[in-house]
Symmetry: C2
Subunit: 273 residues, 2 copies
């Protein structure tokens, strides 16, 4: 019997674009087993030939035809890759002609061009936002005047990774404020948050899931008891409701999706690049 | 004169896939000005109709036909979106037929399916790796036995964002070790790193660029002097060379690209998802 179908994400850049769309495509084919790998930075004849050899050898070992998901822009390198005998899915090709016609401009196929060379200003924005997320994690620092958004939730509800994702990808300054037992026993918003009501976004989570996460982090602590998890989540959700804070459950939501929903809700229109 | 061409990234998920590939496509058209926006989570007739209205209105305001880059899977919602009159670039459509033929399987077009529901194990791996990156940032904690990779470099050479990116995207445990003046004046590897030689990866940076970055962070400090930047970078590069540590310059390299090169060099085959 044939092994899992070999998939290659081939790119003249990082291969992230190829992998992102390729993964989305392949998950539409239920029950097929895939064996994916990346071949990034294919920007020369030598590298294209090495890629062809690898693709061919893998196909022979697996006993079935590989599939190549490809974002190499240079037509000559693409012609070389086609010699691998794989099913070639060129992610740009089908869209070039309609875009050229619509825009009345010919595309330019400089290698690497499509993958965004470093833009110092954008880079700086991302780095500054990342530093901001790091220093404003877990309520460490509280210069909330600079924040684009402040995520609020109990410990381990998903605030930190979401803040980092927002910073790294969108250059958005996201602070996070962990609701402590004291906050949850008091009434109304914690004092530090009152002046920043418009920036608040609540994260909640299923208590059982929270308990699992905390248990892994601090096994058999009071922090990880089902009772405390249930009580904290209930108190946090009551606070969000009473204070009219938008809230999202992270239990079944990926980091990408949480980030995207936070941006959409706050009306932050920021490009990923 | 017409305004910038409106671009819509429309998706039944976050829209990140659409934006990633759409951005790569459009940057191949030099000199055209685009006005991009996302319409995520289009997973119902109501939302599709609202999207159509927004696309149409924006096109009328801009005085030119919008372009829609689209990863909505459901055919009925796609048919609705087509009524917007925009140029529709459906990122999945051209590849479905060849994949169905190659795999001998029909694709399933469940909404949201293509965008990867949350996989708890993968999520946990990403979160654990992110926590690891946070606690092993800047040499704070030094449980390097667990590290998949240890980034080494002078302060502000790009270690922290790369570690966070590796964690968030690949679930890779990346620690980072900042080379101090003391380390750079000594000979050989800093003692803490000696037992982990195989995990080390060096980052370097152009001293002028480093000086700019440090100047922004701590204006007019000794830390930000051109002289210190030049001396630290030279000493770090000498150490990398003498100790045979692979090294990459971050000056003109995006975070994605650094992360991708680190993984490739260390032979870490890890899916993004």
């Amino acid at each position: 019997m044939a092994d899992a179908r070999p998939i290659f994400y081939v790119s003249d850049g990082t291969g992230i674009t190829a992998e992102t769309i390729g993964h989305s495509l392949l998950t539409q084919f239920n029950g097929v087993s895939f064996d994916p790998r990346r071949i990034p930075f294919v920007d020369s004849v030598e590298k294209a030939e090495a890629a062809v050899a690898e693709i061919r050898a893998t196909g022979e070992r697996a006993g079935c035809r590989p599939i190549v998901v490809n974002t190499v822009v240079d037509p000559d390198l693409n012609a070389l890759l086609a010699e691998s005998g794989a099913l070639m899915l060129d992610l740009f090709a089908p869209f070039i002609a309609p875009l050229e016609q619509e825009l009345g401009v010919r595309r330019e196929s400089a290698v690497g061009h499509a993958h965004g060379m470093v833009d110092f200003a954008a880079y700086e924005q991302r780095i500054n936002a990342t530093n901001y997320a790091l220093t404003h994690d877990d309520g460490i620092d509280i210069h909330y005047d600079d924040a684009d958004v402040i995520l609020v939730g109990v410990s381990r509800s998903g605030k930190t990774p979401t803040c980092l994702y927002l910073a790294l990808h969108y250059g958005v300054k996201a602070a996070n404020y962990p609701l402590t037992e004291e906050d949850l026993e008091g009434s109304g918003l914690p004092p530090r948050l009152r002046a920043h009501r418009g920036k608040l976004f609540g994260l909640t989570i299923d208590p059982q899931r929270l308990q699992q996460i905390r248990q892994e982090r601090k096994p058999n602590s009071r922090y990880a008891t089902m009772e405390l998890c249930r009580r904290e989540v209930a108190a946090a959700e009551t606070m969000f409701r009473q204070e009219n804070i938008p809230v999202l459950s992270t239990t079944h939501t990926s980091i990408e999706e949480i980030a995207s929903k936070v941006l959409a809700h706050k009306g932050i229109r920021r490009s990923m690049f």
